[in-house]
Symmetry: C2
Subunit: 391 residues, 2 copies
Amino acid sequence: MNNFRFWSPTEFVFGKNTVGNVGQLVKQYGGTKVLIHYGGQSAVKSGLLAQVESSLQNEFIEYVKLGGAQPNPVDTLVYEGIDLCRKENVNFVLAVGGGSVIDSAKAIAAGALYAGDFWNFFEGTVTINRALPVATVLTIPAAGSEGSPNMVITKTTAGKLKRGTGSPLLRPVFSIMDPVLTFTLPANQTAYGIADMMAHVMERYFTQTRGVEVTDRMCEAVLLAVVKEAPVVIREPENYEARANIMWAGTVAHNGICGVGREEDWATHGLEHELSALYGVAHGAGLAVMFPAWMKYVYTSGVDRFVQFAIRVWGIEDTGDKKEVALKGIQALKDFFSSLGLPVNFAQLGAKAADIDQLIDTLKINSRGSLGNFRKLDMKDARAIYTIAAE
Amino acid sequence: MNNFRFWSPTEFVFGKNTVGNVGQLVKQYGGTKVLIHYGGQSAVKSGLLAQVESSLQNEFIEYVKLGGAQPNPVDTLVYEGIDLCRKENVNFVLAVGGGSVIDSAKAIAAGALYAGDFWNFFEGTVTINRALPVATVLTIPAAGSEGSPNMVITKTTAGKLKRGTGSPLLRPVFSIMDPVLTFTLPANQTAYGIADMMAHVMERYFTQTRGVEVTDRMCEAVLLAVVKEAPVVIREPENYEARANIMWAGTVAHNGICGVGREEDWATHGLEHELSALYGVAHGAGLAVMFPAWMKYVYTSGVDRFVQFAIRVWGIEDTGDKKEVALKGIQALKDFFSSLGLPVNFAQLGAKAADIDQLIDTLKINSRGSLGNFRKLDMKDARAIYTIAAE
C-alpha cells in the first residue's frame, strides 16, 4: 500500500425532499451572494430551479443565474461565469445539474479569484490556490463531481482540447442528492452515467500496487452494487431504491475512497476524452467502448488482477486458466454494457476507424505523449487500443 | 434507503514516516497551544511522544502534556484534562494513542468549552455546541475514533456507568496513521481491535432497512478484507501491508460510510459495555463473546440478512435451508474469532453467569430499558442473550 492523504469534506445531504434545504445550507457555509449555474431548460421546466430560488429567497440570500452549461462543458461559458461573478461580487457558486454543470461551476469558482486566464490551471502552469466555495444540487448520477476535487473542461478554440485538473479547494462544501430528481433521466443518459461511475472505479481498481485489499474489496463492492441495480433503473426508472443506490454509487466511485493507497490508471479516460471532443458523444458512451478495448490490450501486464476482477465481480468460474478467466471477465463487462443499451464499439458509437490518426494527433498533445500506469502507454499503444475499439 | 446526511471531514494522513508531519498539520488547523493527551508509558518508551513533541517544537507550537488515559477511559482524567486546558489556554487537543486516548481527548475538547459538568453530554441533557479541535496520532486500529464523531467514557462514581455520545464537532480535523506504529501491538490487543472493527461494521450491517445494496456491499467489503488480513497480522506482526489494511479497515468501519441510509443496531455494543465496566475486560474481547450470542438470539427476526452474511462474507454454500445457512454463518464468525485467540464465551472472558443480574441492573439504567433496532430488545431479551453467551 502506498502512503496517502485522504480528505473528503463534502457534506452529503441525501434523500427525498432534500432540495428545500439548499438555502439553509448555503447560509451555513457562508454564501450571501450566489451564482446559480445550470444547464439547459430541463432544470427550468421541472421546477427545480424555481425550488432552489425559493429556498434561497427564504433565507434572504441574493443570487444571479447563468444557464447553458452543456455536456463536455466549454471554456467560453466559464469565462462568462467568471466575469459575472466579478461584476456581481458573487461569493458562492451553486451548481444545479449533472457533472458538466458542476465542472463548469468549479472552473468558474477557481477562475473568479485568479487574475490570469483560468485555462492556465488546465495547462498545468498555475496551481489553484484560491476558489469560491462550490456546492451542488445533483440531477445526474455519473461524473461523481459532486464529491470530487476534479473538473474537465473543453477549450473550443485551437481544436477542442479537453483537459482535466482539480484542487482540494474545489470539493463541494455540500451536495444535495435527491434520487427522485433522476426519475426522469432517459434510459440512454442513465446508462451513460452507469458506465462513467463504473469506469471511475475501474480506473482505480486496475493497479500494480500490491497489498490494497480494503480498497480492492470496496471497488468490487461498488461494482457489484451497480451491476445489481443498473438493470433495475433501466427497466423501472421510478424505482426509488435502485435510483438511490445508483446515485450514491456514483459518489463513492469518485470521491477518492476507492482509490486510497494505490496508483490509479486513467488511461481509458484519456483515450475517451478524444472521442467526446471529436464526435461530441457522451463521455459514458465513449467509456463503454474504450474500457473493454483497453482491457483486452493490457490484461497480460497483470493477469492476476483481471482474474480477480472476473471472479469477484462477474462470478466467472476459476478454471485455473488465467488468460481464459481474465478474458471472460472482460467479455462479461462488455456484455453488461451492451445489456444496458450502451455502445461497445466504434460503429455503435458513431466513430470511424479512419479518424484514428486525428484522435492520436490530439491525444498526443493532451496526454503529453504517455498515458496510464497499469501499463504505460505510448501513442503506438493508444493506436492499437483505438483499433481494437474500432473492430 | 433512508434519507441521510454524511459528513466526514477528517484529513487522513496515512503511511510510513508520517508522524513527523504533526507539527505542520497542527499549524495548518490553527493550533497554537496544544494539549498532548496520551496513555501509558509505551508512547514514551517507544519514542513516539518525543517525535511528536519535536515536530511541534519545529513549528514553534507550545504544548502541555497529560498522560494516563486507560482502556475504558474514565471521567476523572477528563476533569483533569478540562482543568488543564482552561488553566493553560489550550486551543487544540492532540490524542496520541488508541481509541481510549482519543475518546478521552474528545471529552476534554468538548468539556473545556462548556461551563457545566461534561457528564451532562453523556446523560443526554445537554448537546455539544462547541469543542476545541481534536486531532490524533493513532497507535491502535480498533475503535475507529480517529475518524468518528463518537466517544465512550466511564463514570467511576455511582457504579461504573459506561456511556457513549458524540458530535460532528468531535470528528478529528486530522488523523496521522502510520501502520509501523502497530507492529509492536501484542497478538491479543491486535485481535481485540479486529473484533471491535468487525463489530462496528456488523452493527450497521444488521438492519431492517431495505434497498441499501451499496452499503451492504461496502460492509461486506470491509469484513472480507479483515477476514483475509487478520490471520496475517496475528502470524506476522511486522507485515506492513497486512497491518496497513487492518489499520485502514478500522477507520472505514466506523467513519460512517458503511452506515449511510440505514437504521443501525448497536445492541451488542450496549450489552458489551456492561461486561467491560464490570470486569475491566477489553471492549473487543467482550464483543467477540457477545456478537455471536446476539446473532443466535435475533437471526430469526430477519433470516435473509443472515443468509446474505453467511454466503457473501463466509462463503457458506446456499443449500436453500435459510436457518441452516444463517447458523453456519454465525458459527463461521465464532470460529474466526476463536482462530484469532479471542474469547467467545463467558468462561473464556472471565465473566460469570452468576453476575447476569448485576449486568442487567446497570444495563437497565444505561440503555434506558431498551436496546437495538434489528430486533428491539427489552431486559428479558438481554438476559437471554447474556445466558447464551454464558453457555
